[in-house]
Point group: C2
Amino acid sequence: MLGAAAAFTRPAKSLAPLPRRATAAPATVTMAGGKPLKVGIVGATGAVGAELIGVLEKRGFPCGDAGPTLFGSAGGKTVSTAKWGDLTTEAFSVAATAGFDVVFLAASGTFAEEHAFDIAAGLAKGGVVVDNSSALRYKDGVPLVVPEVNGDQCAGASVIANPNCTTAIALMALFPLFAAFGLRRVIMSTYQAASGAGAAGMAELREGVKVAAGDEDYVDKMGRFGEKTPVYDAFAHPLAFNVIPHIDVFQANGYTKEEMKVTWETRKILGFDPFPSDADDYSDGGPPRVSCTAVRIPTLRAHSEAITIETVKPCTPEQARAVLEGFPGLKVADDTANNVYPMPLTSTGSYDVEVGRIRRNDVFGDNGLDLFVCGDQLLRGAALNAVLIAEKACA
Amino acid sequence: MLGAAAAFTRPAKSLAPLPRRATAAPATVTMAGGKPLKVGIVGATGAVGAELIGVLEKRGFPCGDAGPTLFGSAGGKTVSTAKWGDLTTEAFSVAATAGFDVVFLAASGTFAEEHAFDIAAGLAKGGVVVDNSSALRYKDGVPLVVPEVNGDQCAGASVIANPNCTTAIALMALFPLFAAFGLRRVIMSTYQAASGAGAAGMAELREGVKVAAGDEDYVDKMGRFGEKTPVYDAFAHPLAFNVIPHIDVFQANGYTKEEMKVTWETRKILGFDPFPSDADDYSDGGPPRVSCTAVRIPTLRAHSEAITIETVKPCTPEQARAVLEGFPGLKVADDTANNVYPMPLTSTGSYDVEVGRIRRNDVFGDNGLDLFVCGDQLLRGAALNAVLIAEKACA
């Protein structure tokens, strides 16, 4: 029954796509004047770069007939696209981006610190750099944007930071609740996919589970690990059949940087100073207290998040659902009678973030709510959010 | 670099076993009088049954030269053991257990409701039935026991319930903190392995990932799911590369039964009425408020749990660590500088539950603490805990 060849196509009942609403912005973008923009992508051959090209294509972003200009660490690589044919990467220089309208950075934090403002200085009037690294996210004067939440901050900015993937996915569900009921406390545990470590992370997991599942010297029928261990390099330990509560580097307070990013970025995107301090006023209308446990699990590219919140005003699950239903870019997947809830299987590849398992949390009584959220790490967590930022900035 | 044959044995630095303390009870059990006991296992051919035999062997439980009597749904199956050679299962009847000293039930809740008390009535004087199902856990007069926590309740009981796996693993870390600082709130998110659905669940996951990782029609290089889906039956959806926030059946309040078990059983094991009610006094010394989000992930047999607590008395991470270090059956794995934290890779097959990532949770200030816990679902979550109960009951 479980032979290697046994398989069938996806059953209609449990896995048919749920009815979908339009995503955040129209599928075909109408930009100011309708004229083509000069678009560059730095880091075009990585996992995020590939998704950026795909999102620009699918949303009809006006890149001109020749498509975006791709910059790689070395030039001369060919990238195939559906819309613009084969594109060839160029070696990056600041000078090569002069006069561009939009430059997406899918490179390192060091790269962004070194080049983002120089690139911005040479852009066409009204042009924008959208940076996917964490280096500029907490700088004054650099908006940190989830377009559906604080897209108004794009106006006039020449460098905009794209948030941490976990934070961007969470905010899609947290912001409408914050706006309607206020947020006093947010406690999050994450289930993060290998794609957070890029294409190399996905390849390592894929190969690791294939090797481990096929040989009892790695893991036996009773699930015990053996003497052999899959090759690993992208993560601190082998990820196949494992759980690693460690993403990014540990801080002095015992949290990882990934966990603190969730705190810092949630605060900044909701309009508060990113860093908690003694000056914080936690009375109604103040910043939420946020904590996160960030955990890598053996999935490929959608992050899941279990979130418990305490709201300022009382909030029933029904009230929460009504607020979440109306929010663009978010899909309520919460029909437990039919086994519908957010999952990587249904949210991977989707522009919408899924939210479900909406229920009262008795620990916080009438102000307590539990949510489960799932979103594509490379789309809302990176490429889609970046393109939506560019659309807002160039509108 | 990531070829199918590429592999090496476990690197000494990151994966060498940590220094281990003795587990909860001595490795060789000394029972009253030292004479052999008549031991029966109902459901001996399942995943829990197999582990029960292994734990009885390894701990030198006095089963006599012929070993335990194995009962299966049908008789006549052969089970190989290291200590007692090949054992043959018998068809179960209550009469066949007459005069036994210990009968372990690794069967269904329906089976336990139908037979547990009848079996108990026919046991030798001082004999005990240890039931692994959830059916009897909330009954008055049936102790629900984690031996290191409330093992004193074994004395004189003829039917004892073995807790839910998630709860038993969590309690190993929560109880010492409860005893030292009191618990006001517990918020838990779980990362549960396929073994919770037995041997069939493990086989389904193992086969599913092997098939899916080896064929891009299931999941492509960019981590997108394709048209083909692995066979599934043990879970509500395919588990390979997926996350399923759904374990056991949904309740009217939006929680699953698995999630509510964590609330009910934590309360009962800590000495309170299992079911929350308006009569609860949440002042100091009252029951903790407990909530859980229970999530199935693609791992094989160790459960992980991210736990946030609010204590009654203020508690620093250092104070918590000192209390946890001394608790039998628990291992503090919390050396983040050397990438040491609880993981399935290190806790699978271990009698000890691992606890780590111990840090202050700012959401609850001086009374807030975060923990990450990992334990073997079939050992502390089932077979080991059951055998430890029998040792206490027959001591």
